[in-house]
């Protein structure tokens, strides 16, 4: 064997620093049959990190349903792919950038957006929409403003520049995120179904090509960082943060999509976490081939970079491709035109090994199959979560004044308008945003067609904490409902599973049970998982975040002229409630905001009802009988109605009856419910049709005037709600720099 760059002793400390356990290191020795070089150790370390290997989660992820006739490609590739008819495909995925965003909110969030965009255009899709699911600590926490401001600016800074609209998302505040914010970004792209690109390399002798930005020493060990629990001093250590360059990303998108129109690419893979290592290993492994790379040919930004550094660098805006022989010139011309680096750095071999040379020496030579196939997989011990005691409405004090309670809720951090956020995002660029942020799901038209993609991200962490199974179901069901409320048919989901330290059995229990609930919902709703991401160790000093399985759903409407929004179109429309309920107050926002209590069980999610009621609602919308539709989620019925009023500037006059205590009727968070606003002519018929199908349906009242009226209970001007709702976040952020 040739001389290895092996003058560095692989000590126990070094192994531990690389996050490998003694068992894991023994496995490395078994695979290699010798002591690994430092570069090899680095490669094993990142490939076997939680972030890349999914070692704690893989076993459970396998249980998620991933198939449906319209699924072209499920989990395992860069992103999931569904068929949206007419030879077109939607490609999407969600990913976390939690730890980097906590350390450097602007760049962390920006590079999160960059990374997820690459996952999508790698596969041949033009990105058409971005979403973001954000969780911050409590508003009073001294870091929250700074983090919120930086994250939002970073997401906007990157997405706006690349020219992909950021069309929606969700934002929560809770003390459990004080030391671990969550920044989950999702991208949806469009491709021709017959021009999709995968990462499996093939063709011995084919050139391996590096394109994009040069490699620097950015984020070395980023992947291992994302897999380690935060301690107080990791903030101090300030690991090298990656800086994003959206300008280069935009050029990379255009150059890649241009090359993809030619018959030149065998395989392509973005360099995400663990950069050159994970991209080359994945391409080789999927294709059952070897890679030989000459690291001297890697475009470098800094001097004297070592093989170790090059392999572990997480410099952004880079891609790896395998080209068909003889197409190098054609490809190079395109990348040069876009002012991007282009370098042939190696070729495919039949050895099955990842072989790296540098200055004429072999510095790593690892058999790829065992590196991936023998990656550790753990069945971590877990315990089921204690079910929280249920709370009866009778045991919760009724509000002294319903109007005051509503005002307090609508102006609270939990329900206040997120306009301050989405106004910093270009949500209209590309000219196809036909449902802007502020409604249930966002809708982007499929360019040049009448079709539309509805997109929604949701998760209610307080439910997941109270009852992981119900919470898992609910997160999936809420995206499904949001998409349904626009008239679109929900087709598939992506997810980002944010949890605490999986080595603690309670946390692992939350994970397992949330996944169980998610899986049940996916099956019941015919709504498979096609891609996703896991982020564990979101924990500081032993305090974990609320379990947060963020779900990103995508649906399709064939005729966008039938789309509904949450805004009633006129006064005098009839407000119809679809779905029943007992006024469930456990784990509700009412309890939290009005009673300052976070206890109680999560509402039950009856998946058969979800499916049945939702399908009925969609049918009414597509039958053009509905003027506006909103699902009922956070804050319950009265909050949902108020949101419809805020969107339309039309008040309402309703009767909540006296079957339930008023706070339960107004603010109970029972699931599988929608409000339809319909013309008087359709109202009776819809109620009758629903009841014929055994679906609870009732008339609440009508849209009217500029006041919000609940018979015998409340009469407040819409303007008053509007002011509180709209002003909370701008006013909160105005104090960003106060000491």
């Amino acid at each position: 064997m040739t001389a290895f760059e092996n003058n560095i002793d692989i000590t126990e400390d070094l192994i531990a620093e690389h996050g490998l356990s003694a068992d894991e290191y023994q496995r490395v020795l078994d695979i290699m049959g010798r002591t690994p070089t430092l570069t090899e150790l680095g490669i094993f370390s990142v490939m076997w990190s939680e972030h890349c290997s999914y070692k704690s989660s893989r076993l459970h992820l396998k249980k998620l349903p991933t198939e449906a006739p319209w699924v072209i490609c499920g989990p395992g590739e860069n992103a999931g792919i569904i068929d949206i008819g007419d030879g077109q495909a939607a490609i999407f995925k969600m990913e976390s950038h939690n730890h980097p965003s906590y350390i450097e909110p602007y760049q962390g969030a920006a590079t999160g957006v960059g990374g997820i965009l690459r996952d999508v255009f790698t596969m041949g899709a033009r990105p058409v929409a971005n979403m973001n699911a954000l969780r911050f600590g409590e508003p009073e926490h001294p870091k929250t403003r700074h983090l919120l401001s930086g994250v939002v600016e970073g997401i906007g800074g990157y997405g706006n520049c690349v020219g992909v609209p950021t069309v929606g998302g969700e934002t929560n505040f809770h003390p459990s995120y004080n030391g671990n914010i969550l920044v989950n970004a999702m991208t949806v792209g469009l491709a021709d179904a017959d021009n999709i690109f995968y990462c499996a390399a093939a063709g011995v002798g084919n050139p391996v090509v590096y394109v994009g930005s040069k490699t620097g020493r950015d984020g070395i060990h980023g992947a291992t960082m994302a897999s380690a629990e935060f301690t107080e001093d990791s903030e101090e250590k300030r690991p090298t943060v990656q800086v994003g360059d959206p300008f280069t990303e935009k050029l990379l998108i255009e150059a890649c999509l241009e090359l993809m129109q030619k018959d030149a690419i065998v395989a392509i893979q973005d360099m995400g976490a663990a950069g050159l290592t994970s991209s080359s290993v994945e391409m080789a492994s999927k294709g059952d081939v070897g890679f030989e790379l000459n690291l001297n040919n890697v475009p470098q930004r800094e001097e004297h970079m070592t093989p170790y550094e090059m392999m572990l660098s997480e410099s952004q805006e880079r891609m790896l491709m395998v080209l068909k022989p003889g197409h190098e010139g054609e490809a190079e011309a395109i990348f040069r035109k876009w002012d991007l680096d282009f370098a042939v750095i190696g070729e495919i071999t039949d050895t099955g090994n990842l072989t790296l040379t540098f200055d004429g020496d072999v510095v790593a030579d690892i058999p790829v199959a065992p590196l991936t196939d023998l990656a550790p997989e753990y069945d971590r011990p877990w315990v089921p979560s204690e079910p929280k005691a249920d709370i009866k409405a009778e045991d919760v004090a009724a509000p002294a004044d319903l109007g005051d309670a509503l005002l307090k809720m609508m102006g609270s951090p939990h329900l206040a308008s997120r306009k301050w956020i989405w106004e910093q995002y270009d949500h209209m660029v590309m000219g196809d945003t036909i449902q802007r942020p502020g409604g249930d799901a966002a809708m982007v038209r499929v360019h040049g067609t009448e079709k539309g993609l509805a997109i929604s991200t949701d998760c209610t962490p307080r439910y997941c904490y109270a009852d992981p199974v119900q919470g898992g179901r609910q997160a999936v069901a809420e995206t499904w409902r949001n998409i349904t409320a626009t008239g679109a048919t929900p087709l598939a989901i992506t997810n980002c599973l944010n949890f605490g330290n999986p080595e603690r059995p309670e946390i692992m229990g939350q994970f397992v049970e949330c996944l169980k609930g998610m899986g049940e919902a996916c099956i019941a709703l015919d709504y498979p998982v096609v891609s996703g991401n896991v982020s564990l160790y979101n924990e500081t000093n032993g305090t974990g975040i609320h379990p947060t399985p963020a779900i990103g759903g995508v649906g399709l409407i064939a005729d966008t002229s039938k789309m509904t929004t949450i805004a009633p179109k006129a006064e005098g429309e009839v407000l119809v409630l679809i779905g029943g309920g007992q006024g469930h107050l456990g784990a509700s926002l009412y309890l939290d905001i009005i009673e300052s209590r976070e206890d109680g069980g999560a509402p039950e999610v009856d998946l058969d009802k979800e499916r049945h009621y939702g399908d009925f609602v969609r049918e009414q919308i597509l039958g053009s009988k509905v003027s506006a539709c909103h699902d009922i989620s956070d804050g319950g019925l009265l909050v949902a109605l108020t949101e419809m009023s805020l969107a339309s500037s039309i008040g309402f006059d309703i009767d909540l009856g006296d079957n339930l205590p008023i706070h339960a009727a107004a603010f109970g968070e029972d699931q599988a419910r929608y409000i339809l606003s319909v013309t008087a002519a359709h109202a009776e018929q819809i109620v009758k049709d629903a009841q014929d199908e055994n679906i609870p349906a009732s008339i609440l009242g009508k849209t009217q005037g500029t006041d919000l009226i609940v018979k015998g209970q409340m009469n407040i001007p819409l303007q008053q709600v509007l002011d509180l709702h709209r002003n909370w976040m701008p006013e909160y952020m105005r104090a960003e720099h106060s000491a």
Binding site: G216, V241, D245, F247
Partner: protein, 79 residues
């Protein structure tokens, strides 16, 4: 009292702006531009009249607002 603060990116941190300027200069026909880095230059007019006190205050301002010390260095001149 005037304070002048230079905020520059730390060594090794990617500087997309500098790189773009470098490209543009080359495209404009300027030869021999090996590297360009862009930073910020902040001039403060302070009521403080004591040099040391001014420096100490600006030091604090840099840490808490003017520089992002995760990726940036700063230097202070007082005159």
């Amino acid at each position: 009292m005037k304070a002048r603060v230079h905020v520059t990116l730390k060594n090794g941190v990617l500087d997309p702006q500098g790189k773009a300027i470098e490209h543009a200069l080359t495209a404009l026909g300027f030869e021999g531009v090996n590297d360009v880095r862009q930073g910020k230059f902040i001039e403060l007019d302070l009521a403080e009249t004591d040099k040391d006190a001014a420096r100490a205050a600006v030091e604090k301002m840099c840490k808490s607002l003017l520089a992002n010390t995760v990726i940036e260095n700063y230097s202070i001149d007082i005159d």
